[in-house]
């Protein structure tokens, strides 16, 4: 076991270590052609080398560092991209549905995952709208993910999994209930239009019914269904497994989809927070005292730039870009 390695064993090892030069490679090549026995030794060394090495190589790569190195090299291209993005954003919302229909802008990737074929839709930087194979429409807020089986319309139940915020318009089919899996809770759809947020206030799962009828239940208590009426909200506690219902909820829960806002003598800090939610961009008040100023204004699916311009001129504010977001500066009102 401890016998020393031979000349050719060293040569093979040199070859795999990347130490062998042109002449040594030629030497190894002709030695391999000499006999089957030589090739056997070579193959065994190769297998041992790969089996032993990959784990170590994997561990030696720091993926975060690799990414920042790459990102630095991309930086010159990044400027171009930002400029291009800005112009696109204005038309994105109109174009989104068309783009999806045309199938442009999809990046397909396959990976071994075992089991059924599922589709995962990620809304990355933009709100996106997608139509499921059964005809149901889903609007996903940026940063949210929806997963569903590819053959959803062939199953007895239409089950989709949501992480984040979405609005659903479910295609009616009483034979095949539509079920949204939201954390440990299930929203079973008996009708049409509703909103689900798995990241609700205080970690709650939020369901708001707009039209039709839905049932909400914990996954282990499917018999204890809470049926919602249109205009009602259900809030589910992850810990206590309790579901409470009510008619009062954030008026602008869907503002990221509609971008429709109508304020009547509303405080500036509240307006800023809704606009921030609508455009998924951080906006901060430099002088928190100025949050007490009030204004009346409506916006109907306008660009962020035009919304900010209106705010600026209405209350004599200075709005400036700050990194990814905006800073609003102004005096407090009496």
């Amino acid at each position: 076991m401890t016998e020393e390695s031979t000349y050719y064993e060293n040569l093979i090892t040199r070859y795999f270590s990347g130490e062998a030069g042109e002449n040594e490679i030629a030497e190894l090549s002709s030695w391999l052609r000499e006999s089957e026995a030589n090739r056997d030794v070579f193959i065994q060394f190769r297998n041992a080398w790969h089996a032993l090495g990959e784990d170590l190589v994997m561990e030696s790569i720091d993926i975060d560092q690799e990414w920042s190195e790459l990102e630095a090299k991309l930086s010159s291209g990044k400027m171009v991209e930002m400029g291009r993005r800005r112009t696109i954003r204005v038309v994105t919302r109109i174009a989104a549905a068309v783009i999806i229909l045309l199938g442009i802008g999809f990046l397909f990737r396959s990976m071994i995952f075992g089991g059924d074929k599922t589709i995962e839709v990620l809304a990355q930087n933009e709100v996106i709208e997608t139509t499921l194979p059964d005809g149901s429409k889903v609007t996903l807020n940026a940063g949210s993910t929806l997963e569903y089986p590819k053959n959803i319309d062939e199953n007895d139940q239409r089950t989709v999994e949501l992480r984040g915020e979405a609005h659903f318009e479910v295609a009616h089919n009483p034979e095949k209930p539509f079920i949204v899996s939201a954390g440990d809770y299930r929203v079973e759809v008996l009708g049409t239009s509703f909103y689900v947020n798995t990241n609700g206030p205080e970690g709650k799962i939020q369901v708001i019914l707009i039209e039709g009828s839905v049932a909400v239940y914990h996954k282990y208590k499917p018999e204890e269904k809470t049926i919602l009426e249109p205009g009602q909200q259900a809030e589910a506690q992850p810990e206590t497994k309790e579901i409470s219902t009510g008619n009062t909820f954030e008026e602008y829960f869907m503002v990221w989809k509609t971008r429709s806002m109508s304020f009547e003598n509303e405080r500036l800090d509240r307006v800023i927070s809704i606009v921030s939610k609508a455009y998924n961009i951080p906006i901060t008040l430099k002088n928190p005292a100025s949050g007490n100023c009030r204004l009346s204004v409506s916006f109907e699916d306008q660009t962020l730039e035009s919304v900010l311009k209106v705010l600026e001129s209405t209350l004599d504010l200075q709005i400036s870009k700050d990194g990814k977001g905006y800073i609003v500066d102004g005096q407090a009102c009496d």
């Binding site: 390695s5 190589v57 990414w67 783009i99 802008g105």
Partner: protein, 195 residues
């Protein structure tokens, strides 16, 4: 199988590009390393391929399978490196099973816990000096000369320790090698057999 659709205003977003990078980078480096046998070169090739993809993202066919596209690019550039550095020998590459990129997609890095444990034990059982040299080569990606300088020994000694390490590891892992042989490079098959 899971398909991921990443939908945005443009085909390849920064976020989906980063996601692909984080998911595939290591496997592609290991893939390239099988050809070029030098860690820095393999890293450079894979980094360059990602940069190329990013720069050409506008012209990318959106439905194209990016993973197989980039794998082919890494394969071609790895072979070009060997040619440019006069290290290309078709004969040896064929014995290694590397002349057909399809024979070995960049899907390695999958190993059973059992085999991993065996491997760690095998490395642990090497004589101290031998293990030290071997780990500097494989884990720290040092060249023979660098190891010699680092440990204050001759390059010849490094060479002998490396040869000995691999020989001993091969013997120690003997029971597994027929499996590796049976499934030349098909790690998925290997896992199937071990399970």
């Amino acid at each position: 199988m899971t398909e991921i659709r990443s939908i945005d205003s443009k085909g390849l977003t920064k976020a989906s590009f980063e996601e692909m990078f984080r998911k595939e980078f290591k496997n592609l480096v290991i893939f390239s390393l099988k050809y070029v046998k030098d860690m820095e070169t393999a890293r450079g090739i894979v980094q360059d391929c990602f940069i190329y993809i990013w720069e050409k993202r506008e012209n990318m066919d959106e439905d194209k399978n990016l993973k197989s596209y980039i794998t082919t690019m890494v394969y071609n550039r790895s072979l070009n490196y060997l040619r440019d550095n006069k290290k290309f020998d078709r004969n040896i590459l064929e014995f290694e099973g590397l002349m057909d990129e399809k024979s070995e997609m960049a899907d390695s890095g999958i190993m059973t816990r059992e085999l991993k444990g065996e491997i760690h034990e095998a490395i642990g059982s090497l004589p101290e000096k031998c293990r030290e040299v071997f780990l500097l080569s494989r884990q720290e990606n040092m060249k023979y000369q660098e190891i010699a300088d680092h440990l204050g020994i001759s390059v010849k000694t490094v060479e002998n320790q490396m040869g000995k390490a691999l020989k001993m590891l091969r013997e120690r892992l003997g029971p597994y090698l027929p499996l590796l042989l049976l499934s030349i490079f098909q790690y998925k098959d290997l896992i199937f057999l071990l399970n």
